[in-house]
Symmetry: C2
Subunit: 168 residues, 2 copies
């Protein structure tokens, strides 16, 4: 099928191969967001709410500024989303004890419930994809994605995942 026989090992860098990767990213990202999007639509929320819920759940007590850096949006944009989540009782914003200028964000029970519903749906798809592709593929998958990030995003990604267990 391919000829790794000769000076072959660079075949994966052809434009065709790269374009396959580009189109795969495009179509896969749609699948990646499809299931949570359905749940969010029912509740009257959008992807931005999902992202906020995800990272607050991931780092309970995180500050607004931290979240801003992780999400890469303006404070005005985040604030709009955060305000509705707080009003709806999914997120609690607590004045910092050490530094009273800071607001520490945590999920309420209800917020955790929605976050769970969303991430269960997303994990289910991811699990199916992992299962279909196999453990070897998963390592490759994450290696390419990690290499595709901007340097500061990669730093954040590693920071978030470094505390996790074995298995890369």
């Amino acid at each position: 099928m391919d000829d790794r026989a000769g000076g072959e090992s660079l075949l994966f860098l052809t434009d065709d191969q790269l374009r396959k990767g580009i189109e795969a990213m495009f179509f896969a990202y749609r699948g990646f967001t499809a299931d949570p999007d359905r749940i969010l639509a029912e509740k009257g929320y959008g992807r931005a709410h999902h992202r906020a819920l995800h990272f607050i759940n991931r780092s309970p007590g995180t500050t607004v500024n931290n979240l801003l850096n992780t999400l890469g949006v303006t404070k005005q944009s985040l604030n709009r989303v955060l305000r509705s989540l707080i009003e709806d009782g999914l997120v609690v914003s607590a004045i910092g004890t050490r530094d009273k200028r800071e607001r520490h964000l945590t999920l309420t029970e209800e917020g955790r419930a929605l976050e769970q519903a969303l991430s269960n749906a997303q994990r289910a798809r991811m699990r199916a994809a992992y299962k279909a592709a196999g453990p070897e593929a998963v390592l490759g998958f994450r290696a390419v994605l990690e290499a595709m990030m901007d340097a500061d995003m990669r730093r954040q990604y590693r920071k978030l995942t470094e505390t996790l267990g074995p298995g890369v």
Copy 2:
């Protein structure tokens, strides 16, 4: 968290592993779109224009309906983008010869130039990621992404890529 120490070949299906994949997708997609976004912003276009240019370039002479299915948006939404591209002389819309209701879309020289600039930028990043991760990883990368797509997206993806050369 869990100790599948025994049947550990399923370690890659733990929630932690799945979450890593989810966060990797999130951060990587940002990198994936960052470079074209910069070019587009200069020209006063957005991602929607990029997507249209990409798939018209990919399938010259494609119809509006085809493009609609590929992009998964409403015709009103696509039309707005298409209209500006046509007005700016990047895309030509030709009435079908066989079926005069259809419009066949092709890029002009100028359209091709912009598409090239965009896809060069995107390919450069993809190339760097591929190179950093290696050929094995690339196969895994695409395997997982493909498994993550909705069935009809996967069909379209395969249709687009089936005509390409060797190397999976």
